[in-house]
Point group: C2
Chain length 407, copies 2
Amino acid sequence: MEIIKGGVTAAKGFEAASTAAGIKYQDRTDMALIYSKVPCETAGTFTTNLVKAAPVKWDKQVVDSGKKSQAVIVNSGIANACTGAEGFGYCRETAEAAAEHLSVDAEGVLIGSTGVIGKQLPIDKVKAGIGALAGKKKDSLEKGTEAAKAIMTTDTCEKEIAVTIQAGAKTVTIGGMAKGSGMIHPNMCTMLAFITTDAAITKEALQKALSEDVADTYNMISVDGDTSTNDTALVLANGMAENLTIEYGTKDYEEFKRALHVVNEYLAKKIAGDGEGATALFEAKVIGADTKEQAKVLAKAVVCSNLTKAAIAGHDANWGRILCAMGYSGAEFDPEKVDLFFESKAGKIQIIENGVAVDYSEEEATAILSESEVTAIADIKLGEETAAAWGCDLTHGYIDINADYRS
Amino acid sequence: MEIIKGGVTAAKGFEAASTAAGIKYQDRTDMALIYSKVPCETAGTFTTNLVKAAPVKWDKQVVDSGKKSQAVIVNSGIANACTGAEGFGYCRETAEAAAEHLSVDAEGVLIGSTGVIGKQLPIDKVKAGIGALAGKKKDSLEKGTEAAKAIMTTDTCEKEIAVTIQAGAKTVTIGGMAKGSGMIHPNMCTMLAFITTDAAITKEALQKALSEDVADTYNMISVDGDTSTNDTALVLANGMAENLTIEYGTKDYEEFKRALHVVNEYLAKKIAGDGEGATALFEAKVIGADTKEQAKVLAKAVVCSNLTKAAIAGHDANWGRILCAMGYSGAEFDPEKVDLFFESKAGKIQIIENGVAVDYSEEEATAILSESEVTAIADIKLGEETAAAWGCDLTHGYIDINADYRS
């Protein structure tokens, strides 16, 4: 496996474009297109929120139908959530406009939306945007980066990655882009991830690889504990690498899944570290667990704790809050067996042993916690399982972004 | 039922005192005593956190033993959590010192602690403090207020209330004090509530009244979602009202429970509204629910949502976040049936009807949301059950208090 330059246009046969459609922002791009020269097997995972945005319902229908997809249209101005039948109708109009401009099947057009909730889309601007996107699309890496920028809301940087693997004698590429949480006119955070690959792979294998991996990557990040109505991860596989079709359970499948994991974990961590107002990526690792599930529950409780996140913002080795969060997580463990360490580029330090503080240097701990990527490692000494979760610190910036009046 | 002046010394036979023991603060009182002239039936509820502070373990043992209690010793400097056998030993030493100074049974001394976690108590200062408390205790209302002040950490005001009811021909009084969340040297928020009553009541009835009511009061508040290691609510009943002993299930029991509920709800709301950095008490009411549990889950999800809390700080009628939080709460409902209202002293306004925004005035909504007590009312139109939960807005102040380095 090799990490290469690029994002959604790194794999063969994928093109992208961005345009400034003026849906919300007046001074930047706010629509993106991903297009494949040939139809793609498609896998998707979607928000578990009972309140689902119209594009989530639309995409789920496309993925569940088993039909191949060939294009993704994203807008970063309006979430199209809580918009009733009218909002769902705009999904159909969007897909039909894309079908016409791109000469693809409307039932194979996927839609991503993020932005203000409860507002209806200006469908004429969306349609004009689709025309512009269709005219500009290209397979260059730069176009992939442009698309990654166009889907940003309060993100401070675009998020993309690509990797290659060997499947038989063929090189298979997987590339992806994602956006994180937040809006300038605040509503609810939305995570969108779009992955493209030229792998030939069955729909079953693609969906299983995505569904299994999402549990260890996107589902292990938290910026503020608020599960969006729009969360979506999609993988499009167009088969243009001409490898022998990857079947579920084979060696090639395992290699594909490992590569997909690298892409998803990278994007997930980028989203967490670029959380609204964040100054640091905060990783919690639980080791020595009985079961993977126990490790995951404990790790996620730590990155979700407001008190812990505020302590990370203050570079404060406030280990009591971490133990406290583990204690209310619902997972069983023995607090009097826990060893806790902090680690970053600046070093590694043990803070507690068997649930009680060791005589550590606060200065050294503060130095370690002052880096932009910080890890807390809890060894619960019960078994061999491990898990990681990713979040960020809680700062004034988060409040500023989200308390702002929607004028 | 009548609300009267006073707190823990309002009921007959209860005395209180405070003292500056210098456990952490140098410029204020940090120890409190509640004392009853005669031994009391005692009920308690405690944190569900797997990591339990030593005083929680101690009090649970006292309550479970069925023995009567006669004194409560509280310190607001050190939480005595994650302190191992040494910390539990200090609970015993505290109880023994109180027993000696107050001529009571050590097995009937309850202990409350809040403050820094992981640090051992300066037991000599605690013992000296107990001596001072014993010398100063009185049954005046002022002494109750002094005690309520001494248990504060980052609280901005003391929290006390008293009510009377008639039980037969006798007047029964219930008084209480509580502290909310936060520390100046931050660790984890801790909620402590101490209720005294001169009611004659069986231990069974007292414990049932407390346990049932806690589920609707203290367990329905949230400042930051972090369940403390030290949370404790205790009720001491000394029988000095000379009413016929209240048994579980009688009419007097129901009246007692209603009065206890008034005390608990008042203190719970005071804690929520005085959350760290808060500028507003935020209440979420769910009406028209199928079941009480459904209403509670939905209401609590709303007050726990960071995004909603940040919107309240910005006086922003950001209803999408409220619907979003209800959607991920885990409770079933139909988003397309929900009506949502905001209400405060400044008025009441409908924001959505059947899941879609109505044409409301943002100015009017902002005016309503600019008050210091704000309510969101969600009617889910499925049945007759209702529930309320209480929280606060999320502000820079919360970050300032909790990101501070523990120097």
